[in-house]
Structure formats: C-alpha cells, structure tokens
C-alpha cells in the first residue's frame, strides 16, 4: 500500500522535484551498478543464445549464424517419449518433495517446539547439517549405502534379514523412494526451522486456556497449532509450486550417478538439458528443452506469485 503510494507520488510530482530526487539518489544508483552490471553480464548477455532452440545448430556457423528451422526441435522433443518422461519426473518429484518435506518438517517443528533443554539444540543442529553438504559428496554417501556389492544396505541391512541383495543402481523402480528420502534427509531440517520460528511466535495463552478446558495434546495441535500455521504452510507451498518446473540439478545429476538404466525415473528437465548438450552434443535439442522449461516455469512462477500477493502482499517476491 504505502509503497504504491510513494511511487505514485514520485511519478506525479513536479518535474523539478523529480530531478532533485534523481540527484539525491545518484550515489544509490552508483551503489547498485556493480550488481546490475553483473546481472547484465551473467544473465542478459547470453540470452540471445536461446534462439538456438529454433535453429539447426552447425558448429562451423556458430549459434548466431546457424539456419533457422522454426519449431522443428520442439516438434521432435514432443514426439519422443523424452518430453513426457522429463516433465512427469520433474513435476512428480517436486510434488512428492512438497508433500513429504512439508509434513515431516511440520511434525518435527511441533515436536521440537514442545521439547526443552540443551538436547533440543543438538537435535536441531543434527538434522540441519545435511543441508550444508555438497551434492557431489551426497552422491558419494548414497553410493556407500546403495552400492550393490559393497553398499551398507545390501551388505549389512538386507543380509541381516536374510534378504537377497538388490542391484539398486540398475533398477529404476527404487529411485523415486531413494531420491525422495535423500531430499527429505537434506531439507527437512531446513524447512522445519521456518515452521518452528512461526510456532515460537504464537501466544502461549491459547494453549494454556485450552489446557484448562481439558484439551488433549492432540486436540491442541489439531485445533490450535495447525490452524495458526496455515498461512505459513500455504505460503511456502505456493512458492514451491511456483518452482515446480525446476529441479535440484545436483540431486538428480550426482546422486543416481548418471546410470542409463535409471533415466526413466531420474531424468528431469535440468539433467536432460545438461546431458543432451554435453554427452550427445545436441545443442539445439537441449536448448529447446531449456526454453520449454523457462516458459512454462515463468508462467507458473508468475501465477504463484499472483496468488501469494492475494494472500499476503508482503510475502510476494515482487
């Protein structure tokens, strides 16, 4: 509200006034310059390269001089199974991540908010630590567990129960579970902190009066905690839905270790673009997939942002 007002004031003010304002802000513009220059170099200068999605790439002519082919790359992308598989995987995993991570994060946050003492700090530190580890190293860790012959799971856990070893890295069907698990391992600690902070901000009086009325713990959670958390949950979920067309490249590229047999359940748009480019050398096709992602992703983010704005203006990104 107030923001819009100031802006309109600035717009509507006298010309002299604007000039004066402008002068006052010159140092500010100078401060902003390095960041803006960086964004220009890093993000805007390469942008014309997207046109290669509409061209038949020829290295001799380079990206900018290769001949145009219209939507041929897109037509091909969508006639193969690939477009369907990578779209399904990207959206499917993100939906699963949203549900699993949100439910777990809220559960953990509620538990943590009730506990006290030094050990609470320890819990929090422990579950947050995985978030700081690079995806390459996570790839190494997952391999230590799921390597077929040497892995801990086959060697110790399954053996203990007298089960046959499973060749994890060649059976695509297990990977949705593994990846969802790894994602939860990595991000539950992080997500729960946001909920925890919201929880700590609640007025304890609600709970006290509920207790006096004889409400059980479960009832308190159901009728007080969750309704109070609702705005935060909605907000975080909406933001996540906005980014549903983008995947965590490190997770999907490093953790399944690039195993061909796993592509059907591990290939997402981001990994497809990267592999198409650097392993098959198919620059045009990979750019087409990238453009597809950007456009659908753009629309989704804008829509999500619009909805967020409706719900709570201050939480919107722009």
């Amino acid at each position: 509200m107030s923001r819009a007002k100031t802006a309109s004031e600035a717009g509507g003010g006298a010309k002299k006034m604007t000039l004066k304002r402008f002068k006052r802000f010159i140092p500010i513009y100078l401060l902003m310059l390095p960041g803006l220059i960086y964004l220009f170099i890093n993000n805007y200068m390469p942008l014309p390269g997207l046109t290669v999605a509409f061209k038949k790439y020829n290295a001799g002519m380079g990206i900018y001089k290769s001949p145009w082919v219209g939507f041929q790359n897109f037509t091909y992308l969508f006639t193969t199974d690939d477009a369907w598989v990578i779209t399904r995987n990207t959206i499917g995993y993100n939906l699963a991540f949203i549900v699993v991570n949100t439910v777990m994060a809220i559960t953990v946050a509620i538990i943590l908010s009730e506990l006290t003492g030094r050990i609470k700090k320890f819990y929090q530190s422990a579950i947050l630590l995985p978030n700081l580890i690079s995806s390459v190293i996570i790839g190494y860790l997952v391999f230590a567990f799921f390597s077929v012959e040497n892995g801990f799971v086959n060697n110790s856990i399954l053996k203990l129960f007298g089960k046959e070893a499973v060749s994890w890295y060649s059976e695509a069907k297990y990977w949705p579970f593994i990846l969802i698990f790894v994602s939860a391992w990595k991000s539950v600690g992080y997500n729960c902190i946001v909920y925890l902070a919201t929880l700590m901000g609640f007025d304890r009086a609600f709970y006290e009066s509920a207790q006096i009325d004889g409400a059980t713990k479960w009832q308190q959670i159901k009728y007080i905690t969750l309704p109070l958390l609702k705005p935060t949950i909605i907000m975080l979920t909406l933001m996540a839905i906005g980014r549903i067309f983008y995947s965590d490249f490190g997770l999907f590229y490093q953790v399944p270790m690039n195993q061909g047999a796993l592509y059907s359940t591990t290939n997402t748009i981001d990994t497809y673009v990267y592999r198409g480019l650097l392993q098959m050398g198919n620059i045009s096709m990979s750019a087409a997939a990238g453009v597809y992602q950007s456009i659908v992703g753009f629309v989704l983010v804008l829509v999500a942002n619009l909805v967020v704005r409706r719900v709570d203006k201050d939480s919107a990104l722009i």
């Binding site: 390597s147 077929v148 012959e149």
Partner: protein, 519 residues
Amino acid sequence: MKKKIVAMLMASVMALSLCACGGGGGDAAQSGGDGGAQQSGGDSAAADDGSASGEITKLIVAFPTWTGAPTDTEKVQEAMNEITRDKLGIEIELQVSDFGSFNQSMTLALSGGEQIDIVSTLGFAYANAVQQGYLSNLEENDLLSTYGAGIVDVMGQANIDACRVGGVLYGLPNNRDMAQGRGCVAVATEYLEGIGYDLSGDSEIIRITVDELNDVYAQLHEKYPDKEVYRPSTGAMSQFSNVDSLGGSVFGVLLDNGKELKVENLFTSDFYMDYCNRIYDYNQKGYISQDAATDTTAATELVKAGTLMSYTTGGKPGIKAQETNLCGREMTIFQTMDNYVSSTSVASFPWAIPITAANPEASMKYLNELYTNADLANVLAWGIEGEHYKIGDDGLADFADGVDASTSGWNHSMGWLMPNQFLTHIWVGNSPTLWDEMKEFNDSAVVSAASGFTFDTTNVANEVTAVQNVYNEYQASVEYGFVDPETGIAEMNEKMMSAGLQKIIDEKQAQLDAWAATK
C-alpha cells in the same frame, strides 16, 4: 560496529584487488614460461618469440588422458617445441584433459570458437563431432596431399580412407593395434594352477573353444566358490562376438565377421541370444557378482584385491604383459575367436583438425611430423629421456632412475592414442619386437568386408539417440545376465523398434550399398 564494517569493506576491496592481481599475475607468469597465454595465443607468442626465429606459428593440441594433465606437461611441451621450432617454425601448446571432461570441454571450446588446432577424438566421439560440424575437411585445398604425404606413407591409403564420413575425410587414423583378438578373457594364473590347468607351452595367448572356457569356469567356481569367476563389462559383448558394429554402434550390424554386406538386427540374431544365454547361465550359477551392473571398480582392481578371477579383454601382442602389470598378478590370456579388423576399428578415434584451427596448413605439417619423426613421437609418448625414461641395455625403455609409475611427471600410459606408436621405444616387459608382432597381427587378421565404411548418422541422429537410450537402459541387465534373455531381449528389442531401430538399419544398408558401389 562501525569499525567492523569499515574493516570488512577494506578487506573485501583488498581481496578484490588481490584476486585481480593474482589472476593476472598467474597468467603473465604462465605466458612467460611457455611462450604464450592460451587466450591471446597469436599475439603474445609473436611478441615472445618473434625476435628469436622469425615467424613461429602457435598451435594448440588437445587430447585426453585418463586422469588429466601430467605434472610435467609444460616441460614435455617445451621439449617438443625445441624439435619443431627451427625445423617447422611451429610451437605447440598441449591441452590435456581428463577423460571424463574431455568431451564436454571440447564441445564447449569448439562451439565457443576457441582455437584448437589438433584434436584427438578419443572420448570426443568422432562420428558425433563430424555430425555437429566440429571437424574440418582434411582434403580441402589438397591439405593432406600437400603437407601430410608422410602420413599417407605411414598409414597406407586404405587405412586413411577408412576414416571417411560420407566420402569426406575428417580424421587421420593412428598407428596401433588395428585388429582385435576377439573372444579373449584374462584369468589370473594362480587360480588356473589351483585347478591344475596345464599351462605349459610358450604362446602368449592360449587358444581354446568356448566350451573349454565354460569348463574352466566351472572348475574355478567349484574350487573357489567365494570368488567371483567372471566380471562382464559394457564392451564384453562386442568383444566376444564376430559381429561388425557398423559405425561404432551395435544398431544394425554385419554378422559372421562381416563376410557379407547385409545389415542385420543384432538383437534378434541367434548369436545375441546365445551370448546372453551363456552369461545368464554364468549368473545363475553364481559366477557373476550381483554388483556387476553398477560397481565402477575396475576389473583389474578386483583381481588385484583378490575378489575376481577373470574378465574380458581384447587380444593383441603384449596383452599378457599389459594385464599382468595392471592386475599385479600373473595373468593368462585365453582366446576363443579370430583376430579381426572390424569396419570401425581403424576409425575409432582418429586425430583431426577442428574448424577453429588457426592455421590448418601448420596443423597438417605438425601432424605429419608426429607420424614420421621418431624423436617427437618419443617425447610425446614417453617424455624426456633421462628425466622420465631411460633406455636399457636391451634397447627397451624403462622409468628413469629415481622415478616410478607414480612419481614420473609424464606417465600417461596412452601410447596407443598417439599418432604413430610404432615409432616409439618399446617399454620394458614387452617383447623387443613388439611393433613387428603388432604389424604382423594387423596384417594377418580377418578383415571385415565393410572395412573402411563409416556410417554418417546425420539422417538418423534422433533415432540413434533414442535407441541408444533404450540400450543404456537394458544393456547391463540383459548382457550381464540379470534377466532371462527370452523375455529381456524381446522387451528391449520391441522398445528399440519403436524408437526407430529399423530406420537405422535401413539407413545403414543404404549407405553401405552406396559405399560398396563406389569401391
């Protein structure tokens, strides 16, 4: 608080200027050291060397090694430049990548128009590179005949023609073992002795039949039930077959050593079913580790660690010494099939001149020198005499005094990748007449009727990608015996067919017919 911020600001400004200096300084030092920074190639090289000997052309030579640039790369580069500076007026800069990133760094460099003058196509798939337009025509303006006559002499016109794609020559074959001893396995000798196998006889490679091999495996498994008998690999199927995988892909092959020019579907052939059944049988009998499809540990490492007894290898002179060396145990080589020169083996990883070469004439001149100048070839292959290697009394090369395999600054073990290995010293542990044996081996092998045919994938590029994806998905489970071939192969074949396998086969046949007609 204020102080803290000011301090932070100061620190960052200093850091910025430092890192600017650091970067610049590093570059300057580098260009001073080897006579030219890579980005500004031409100019600085001219400035540095112009005074010394007039016109010096600066070339960038790129190839991969397994683990990246050896530590003494700049020294070796300088030693090579000493040979060619006065003679040809050419200096080079070696750009050595690790194998895993070579494809990517070449794709990026060439699509970014960076100067690369000579490139090895190992790991930077030749056919793919041609298709994307990264390589230049070597016969344009009579480039090869004018500046590369020595190459033609060394390699022979037939071998050179084998590298043509769609009639155009984009690469030059390198001199090495062109033939391949098919159907070979390496078995650790101690286990063979354990089952009382008769190892008398002095031939390097023992010829047996597949049934005899199965028998040996059965005995090994009985005697050493805890050890893995055999470890399949992605290359094992081609290695153990008499198929000619036209154009390097097994989608549309010539069966029976390529005696007839009839392209067939490998995956419906009897051979493929038999092969997969055999491995499936191995797997059922517990010869193969359940880890085989995914474990990335080298088979040789497993043999070294004592968990594995045998694996597939390619037969050639010197193979016994090579495998023994890798495994740290004496190995015995069995061969069940013929020595064979397939249509693609000559053109597996030719040397090429990319389109971003600054001076193709100089590139070709330099390549010519690499194929014909023994001194230059030796430096590239083994490094500097006295520093990296020495010549023993028997005339064989060995590590120089005070260095070994792990401390040598130039030990890439990629001699077979270099343009003309036959010019270089023979390494200790090999037969002193290794290169003659190798030539004999190449000459006496069965040659595919399609030898010299190169498949141009342009028209079916999308199908090849799609079918390759299917193959990636199924290969390990089908060819390592993890699924019943009866069902597994059918399922894979069906998916490949719907991904366009038949179109690839038809295209191969059409190109093969056209190629045969012009012969």
